[in-house]
């Protein structure tokens, strides 16, 4: 033993033992049954509920959704009724936000615009998430040439600007409708979900529990559906939430540029575009739809942040 070769350096080499009553011995690796069982999703929800950012954004989003669902409750004016005799009015009891250059009621335009924006945002979010998840999980899970092909397709669509694509399609079709706007956004917006899904699937598929499941007799498809996708989905949910805000902006951008919804439909982007000409004389015409857009988008991005915090993979290990 090496210890013997060294000189004793300690003046008194006493053997000290802690009193047993102060250091009680516990059972080895005893199961703790004091806490309530909670799944990861329950845990995430538990953390989420305590996050002020989540509470604020959730209240705002619920409000926006409520407005979008029941616009009649917030205004009795027809957003499509333009009365030039009442154009450019300041706020009054009849028109609380005033009227536009065309004599539209700004309040009702803003309220009804929520429905358009939220609908397009949700549909585009669902569409992109579906496309992205399918593409991403196939690329990540199958690997090899499938991965190569899908990744290059993703890169191509990632490189094409949304606005450019929308302009091309709008000029080809002549006029746009809501389903076409959603399709255009889906076509150019699925790439980041696909990339995130691919990365998450790549790291999940090498986990021991996937290997264990294979050894238990699970097929490759079973593994993908039962283990890999459920565990890879958290970052996708975060991105999809943030994307919802981004797509609402995208719709507004397209409408602003005149390649989105036709001017006959009520949307925040269209209204912001219409407000350009009256910016100096009627700043409120720009203010209300812009604020509505900003608050909605901000809420979804904040929600995405809060969800990310709750689903943080580091917190999983505890």
């Amino acid at each position: 033993m090496r210890s013997d070769t060294r000189p004793a350096l300690r003046p008194r080499a006493e053997h000290w033992v802690a009193p047993l009553e102060e250091t009680p011995l516990r059972e080895v690796d005893a199961a703790d049954s004091s806490t309530t069982p909670r799944s990861l999703w329950a845990e995430a929800w538990h953390n989420l509920r305590r996050n002020p950012v989540f509470l604020i954004s959730a209240v705002l989003i619920l409000f926006v959704l409520f407005v979008a669902a029941f616009p009649q409750l917030f205004t009795d004016q027809d957003p499509r009724y333009g009365n030039l005799a009442q154009a450019r009015q300041d706020p009054s009891a009849e028109h609380p936000f005033g009227t536009t250059v065309q004599g539209y009621d700004i309040l009702s335009r803003t309220v009804w615009g929520a429905r358009t924006s939220v609908t397009i945002g949700f549909l585009a979010m669902i569409g992109t998430t579906l496309i992205g998840m399918v593409m991403g999980s196939l690329a990540g899970y199958l690997g090899g040439w499938v991965d190569e092909v899908i990744s290059r397709i993703t890169d191509i669509f990632f490189a094409l600007p949304l606005v450019l694509g929308a302009i091309v399609i709008a000029t080809r079709l002549g006029s746009m409708t809501m389903p076409i706007v959603v399709l255009v956004i889906c076509l150019f917006g699925w790439t980041n979900i696909a990339r995130i899904m691919r990365g998450a699937v790549l790291s999940t598929k090498t986990q021991d529990y996937v290997m264990a499941s294979t050894a238990l007799g699970a097929s490759s498809t079973t593994n993908l559906l039962r283990h890999v996708i459920p565990n890879a989905i958290a970052p996708v949910i975060v991105t999809a939430t943030v994307n919802l805000g981004v797509f609402i902006v995208a719709e507004a951008t397209l409408s602003f540029l005149g390649v989105g919804l036709p001017s006959t439909s009520v949307s925040w982007g269209g209204d912001i575009s219409a407000a350009r000409s009256a910016l100096r004389t009627q700043p409120m015409m720009l203010f209300y739809p812009s604020m509505a857009l900003a608050i909605t988008v901000l809420s979804f991005i904040m929600l995405g942040d809060a969800v990310r915090d709750a689903l943080d993979p580091k917190a999983r290990k505890r």
Binding site: M1, R2, S3, R6, P7, A8, L9, R10, P11, A13, E14, H15, W16, V17, A18, L20, E22, T23, L25, R26, V28, D29, A31, D32, S33, T35, P37, R38, S39, L40, E43, G143, G199, L202, S203, T206, Q207, D208, Y209, M211, A212, S213, T214, A215, L216, G217, A218, T222, H227, P230, N231, R316, K317, R318
Partner: protein, 643 residues
Amino acid sequence: MTAQPTTERPGAASGPAQPLLEIKDLEITFTTSTGPVQGVRKADLEVYPGETVAIVGESGSGKSTTAMSIAHLLPKNGTVTGGQILFEGRDITHVSERQIRTLRGDQLGLVPQDPMSNLNPMWKVGSQLTEALAANGIAKGSAAKRRSVELLEEAGLSDAERRARQYPHEYSGGMKQRALIAMGLAARPKLLVADEPTSALDVTVQQQILDHLDGLTQELGVAVLLITHDLGLAAERAQHLVVMYKGQVVESGPALELLQNPQHPYTQRLIAAAPSLASRRMESAREAAPAHPRPHRVSEPLVTVTEREADTAAPADPTPSGEQDGHGPEFGYGPVNPEAAIQVQNLTKVFPLRGAVPWKTTPFTAVDDVSFELARGTTTAIVGESGSGKSTVAQMVLRLLSPTQGRVLIDAKDVTEYRGADLKALRRRVQPIFQNPYGTLDPMYSIYRTIEEPLRLHGIGDAKSREAKVRDLLDKVALPADMMRRFPNELSGGQRQRIAIARALALDPEIVVCDEAVSALDVLVQDQVLHLLNDLQAELGLSYLFITHDLAVVRQIADNTLVMEQGKVVEQGTTDQVFQDPQQDYTKRLLAAIPGGSIQLAGAEILDVEAPEGPGVEAEAVHPEQVHGDDDPGERFQRPDPV
């Protein structure tokens, strides 16, 4: 402190020595989301100049926390809430950040736990050392460069000048740890705090590094505070031991005295469980069920005829099975033994290594002509260091990888070509238990769903009978039935591993492949799981293929042992044969490297194997051009990098 302190050896001074480091009544509290948690309570500890003191404890015992508090390196939510830390009589418990920074490096060196993540991959190792020297005001410019080469040399790196110009990824794990030791000792500190300095390394490398650290600190008169979970290692390296449990010091005293005469029940328990100190295969607590007799238990040495001949004919040949190299399947295999649970014949796995250009690959033989038998109801261990190909063998037996050559016979049938329904039926009979308790269970699945999964996959029983089975399995692995509503994140590592065992047993397999199944667990928990595995074997007549790097564990659980090195079997026989009469130098080196193997305990027979005179210094076969990391190659190829 720039002078060579070899001359001023503090401990050698006469007169009553003052402790270099004194910790009194230390209390450390962590603020967590569920309120304050006391990490350390009433800890007392003294380190005298020049001596080595080891803090021993399991994870969560507060050993690292105590050590880190000395250098004020506690995590953000941890604070010292009571007691004192005295360094050379000076209270450093609450001194300013600037004062502690001059203390670190200059008086107090640190060797971190994980050599892989503690060197900056963007910088040359030499530059990182030079920076450390400059930061401590020891040397600058070219002098610092020269000094850093000297320090690397001192840390036992051959060709230090070239090594200093290399990047960390060109170093193996052991070399990185040597560089970190050089860094810790760069300023000639009076105290070196080494936090599990070798836990991430192979056992032979661990021994070299500790030997070197020992010699170096003794020569320089540096006191060492060694943090370790390994009692055997602590006893071998330190003069004084401090045992911690749940944040408290439960016992301290001279190393040998403490081992031979432990007073506190926790220390007694720890010594009883320490695998490095145990000396024979554990006996089952439960009697073997009469329905499952174990006919082959330690009866016949499991060396095949050819191997035995090879051994006697050429005992010096390091690879007795290597002579069969040319044997392809068309040349036929050895005789089929229908009695064996598994018969592995001439198993070979070649991975294509990515070459310089994507369309070119270099073949890499991870497993080279491995043959063995696993008799029913017994345990065969495959031992080897990282890169030996042992896990690759396990994965081929599990049919998670296909062999390049050779075959795996189960019930005298070659299963390597099984597909579809045959393969699924095979899966029921061969089950794995993996190493990482945190990765082996799907975090999204409740415990019930986890254990039920195999039953559901194979369409066994209805919901009610499946629940009964899950209850029964939980009972078998000694966990309460209400555990099944819980999720993996609520369980400890040992409990997760027991769930993994329950899942593996759900299909009533005959063979269980344990791939480092207990390596990640604390000593006591490891002991518990090993006993559980052993009892289950007696009760259910299971055959185990036990893959591990830990020879001490092998001795406790295995009937037969295979030693693998670089893809080849270098030695195989009964565990007793291999341990008492090792034939190969490599096996001898491995055995000699078991920490604490030569410490005598009351009632235990000692295992004393002389290390052979070998190439010694660098046991790691490292080619500077071709270092890819220390993990098992099989694993490396199988898992694609997330790009």
